[in-house]
């Protein structure tokens, strides 16, 4: 009997653990990475590997020497952070800057708060926004998606969102901008990823395939991404209906920029999203509204990163007030 285990019930465990969940997220990001490598070539590979390696190393060093605790890099969460950070960077970014971004993401975004599970903001987004504000030129000079072999010194170009924003700022209408840049506004190209942008955000289709995989593996629930999509569609649609000359149609919003990447992979980050279904829906609506406000009225062409960080700050409040419906809860009269 001396080798028998004793513990309170339950005596069996489900299959999912932190490591397997993180592995599933990594797998789900692979199609988008493949598309990115196809279009941006070596740039993607270098940036991605640098980000992952520096994130993992940074977490390991901090845990080993600063916090003097057992390093937990085996849970793969640092790899996910690195991968998502890389997805948010242009593929021609200098590796040194990538390292800097990773250090900020892990060091400031995650470990200062006590590591995995305690950070209020999505670490990868902290890294990205830090980079965006500190190095605006490098962060918004995207290479054109030309193909694997021709891409080392590829020409750079703006994203559809940036072209649109600049055009509108110059007093052009949506129709004029679209007519002036026919290459940049093909929805089919956006679906497959042949557009300018950060290395992981370009292919809507690949990201949606990953979404399907995450749902199938029950890693995330549909609530956050679908509410974000729906909110953006409705809100942008209303604006478009009201003034189609100055507000672009909702499909354009959904297909460009980081909405897919943000809604599916960053807003659903466990640690920084609400705990209840009701809360998730509110969180998603908030992100959708803030994103479109920034895109349509703000100074930046892209707003999802800021929107997610902004709503991250509300998560504790949402958790406090959005309680699940208790079993047997009796509605009070009225």
């Amino acid at each position: 009997m001396s080798n028998m285990r004793i513990s309170p019930a339950p005596h069996i465990q489900g299959k999912q653990n932190t490591r397997s969940l993180m592995r599933d997220v990594i797998i789900a990001l692979m199609p988008a990475l493949a598309v990115s490598i196809c279009f941006f070539g070596w740039g993607t590979i270098i940036v991605t590997l640098t980000a992952i390696l520096s994130c993992v190393l940074c977490e390991w060093l901090i845990q080993k020497f600063l916090l003097k605790e057992e390093p937990s890099i085996k849970d793969l969460s640092a790899i996910v952070t690195g991968l998502i950070l890389a997805f948010n960077l242009p593929s021609n970014l200098s590796p040194l800057l990538v390292v800097l971004g990773s250090v900020v993401a892990i060091g400031v975004g995650k470990m200062t708060f006590g590591g995995l599970g305690n950070n209020p903001f999505n670490p990868a987004l902290v890294g990205r926004v830090f980079m965006l504000i500190s190095f605006p030129v490098q962060m918004t000079t995207w290479p054109k998606p030309t193909g694997f072999f021709t891409s080392i010194d590829a020409v750079t170009g703006a994203t559809p969102l940036a072209i649109m924003k600049e055009g509108l700022a110059n007093g052009m209408t949506v129709q004029e901008i679209t007519a002036a840049n026919p290459d940049s506004f093909s929805y089919i190209q956006m679906l497959f990823g042949q557009i300018g942008g950060s290395l992981g955000e370009i292919s809507t289709l690949a990201l949606l395939i990953g979404f399907g995989y995450l749902l199938f593996r029950k890693v995330i629930t549909w609530h956050i991404p679908i509410t974000i999509f729906a909110t953006i569609f409705v809100f942008a649609g209303l604006l478009h209906l009201a003034d189609s000359a100055h507000f672009v149609d909702p499909l354009f919003h959904l297909l460009t920029g980081g909405i897919m990447l943000g809604a599916i992979y960053m807003a659903t980050d466990y640690v920084t999203s609400p705990m209840t279904k009701k809360g998730m829906v509110i969180f998603g609506i908030g992100i959708g509204v803030v994103t479109i406000i920034i895109r349509a009225f703000g100074g930046y062409p892209e707003g999802i990163s800021f929107a997610i960080l902004f709503m991250n700050a509300f998560v504790p409040l949402i958790n406090r007030h959005m309680k699940p419906k208790r079993f047997g809860e009796v509605k009070k009269n009225g």
């Binding site: 028998m4 309170p8 019930a9 699940p324 208790r326 079993f327």
Partner: protein, 442 residues
């Protein structure tokens, strides 16, 4: 559409390995040790002393107090001692130890295999017989059945729901009982229906036991008042609140009992005991125990006399199999670990389960990643991650405000937690503490 409860729940691998093994009578050797407390509530008071000879079915400890139950001898022989012995968890409790001599039964007990179909007792007589026979709920909580069937004033019973869900993995004793004593169970339901003076009875059975459902349907004579409800397999469907929700769609209010919604819930094992007590005058002295495990060569469903040392049952299947990491009494989701295999079986023992090393290890817990999976699977609509933090810090006010007392301790949260946090371990503690405070406030 097959019914089930809506919120939360999990569906662990069923592993009903022993489902096709017929129930076999187990011959207890040497001695039995029968605890005076085999039920929820006050321990029974021994009415025999050392040296007395007793017969099978003789009353050896009398119910004392409102919530208590009679205890009967499960064997014939001599009382060797009444002392505190360790149960299967190592806790010491008073037990009556009886040395087995022969197999002499009380004359009043009908031991014939005939099924007695005619019910000729008044409701009061039925409840009295159940009280005398010491019948307790065999679904896990071992609540005295007579107390459950005595509807408190001001409440009204509308229907009986019998729990044949057996949603726990591995367990097959209820399943076998429904197959081998199906008609007796239906008669038992009819008896309780008459005792409660109600019209409607349901029996909820998960669809992984289609043979049992079809078998019960074949007794057309009894089906008149009984509705057999097939349920989609899902844990914790056998919990009374979930069962009521699944069968009728009604929710038992927070802090409420099933009777508040007009339902009385009994386990099939209990119903069978009621049949035996009323029709055969047989007190609750034996029950079905599943002996199972992935590594076990011979799976068994035994009819075991109460008080049989678990070690005898384990020896009969060839000892503890190689590679066993944990032995559990009851199902893997809510059962108790066995720390002392010399401990005797109880009225409520439903299984001895050999978990493999691999299955039984909980693994190391890591940081909560706030994945919200525990919130998603909680059938009671609680937030286990929050309750864990509050219970660790003993913040009882907050625990109460977050309805910790609504927890049914089903363990779905811990089962599903990817960080392997001991959620229900702490929540159970916090719940006990809060319940104590709530009671003291009354």
């Amino acid at each position: 559409m097959i019914k089930t409860f809506k919120r939360g729940g999990v569906h662990p691998p069923e592993n009903k390995i022993s489902a096709q093994v017929a129930i076999e009578v187990f011959n207890t050797q040497d001695t039995v040790r029968i605890f005076t407390s085999q039920h929820l509530g006050v321990p029974a008071e021994p009415v025999v002393t050392k040296g007395d000879t007793v017969k099978v079915g003789q009353l050896i400890a009398k119910s004392s107090g409102f919530i208590s139950a009679n205890v009967h001898s499960s064997v014939s022989g001599t009382v060797t001692s009444i002392e505190a012995i360790a149960d299967h968890m190592g806790f010491k409790k008073t037990a009556i130890c009886i040395k087995i001599e022969g197999d002499e039964w009380e004359e009043s007990i009908d031991r014939s295999p005939d099924i007695i179909r005619e019910i000729k007792h008044t409701p009061e007589e039925i409840i009295q017989k159940i009280t005398d026979a010491g019948v307790v709920g065999l679904g896990g909580a071992t609540f005295p059945t007579n107390v459950k069937l005595s509807i408190p004033p001001g409440k009204k019973a509308e229907a009986l729901i019998v729990n044949g869900a057996e949603c726990e993995p591995y367990l097959t004793s209820d399943h076998r009982l429904m197959l081998e004593a199906g008609e007796q169970i239906l008669i038992g339901m009819e008896i309780i229906r008459q005792a409660l003076k109600i019209d409607k009875t349901y029996i909820g059975i998960e669809t992984n036991k289609m043979d049992a459902i079809n078998h019960l349907k074949s007794f057309t004579q009894w089906i008149k008042h009984i509705e057999i409800v097939p349920l989609k397999p899902r844990y914790p469907q056998g919990g009374e609140k979930q069962l009521i929700k699944a069968v009728t769609g009604k929710e038992v209010p927070i802090n409420g009992l099933p009777i508040d919604t007009g339902y009385v819930v009994c386990n099939v094992g209990t119903v069978y005991s009621v049949y035996e007590a009323v029709q055969k005058n047989k007190p609750l002295i034996d029950n079905t125990v599943t002996i199972t495990g992935k590594k076990l060569k011979t799976q068994k469903n035994y009819l075991v006399r109460v008080g049989t040392p678990m070690s005898q049952l384990i020896e009969s299947v060839g000892g503890i199999p190689e590679g066993t990491g944990k032995i559990v009494s009851g199902g893997p989701m809510m059962g108790k670990p066995i720390a002392n295999i010399d401990g005797p079986t109880l009225k409520g023992s439903s299984s001895i389960l050999f978990m493999t090393e691999e299955e039984s290890s909980r693994g190391d817990s890591s940081n909560c990643i706030r994945c919200a999976k525990c919130v998603g699977v909680c059938p009671m609509g609680l937030e286990p991650y929050l309750l864990l933090r509050l219970a660790e810090r003993k913040m009882n006010d907050q625990l109460e405000a977050n309805f910790v007392h609504n927890c049914i301790e089903c363990g779905c949260c811990l089962y599903t937690c990817p960080a392997r946090l001991p959620l229900v371990d702490y929540i159970r503690l916090g719940k006990a503490e809060v319940l104590k405070i709530m009671r003291s406030r009354k």
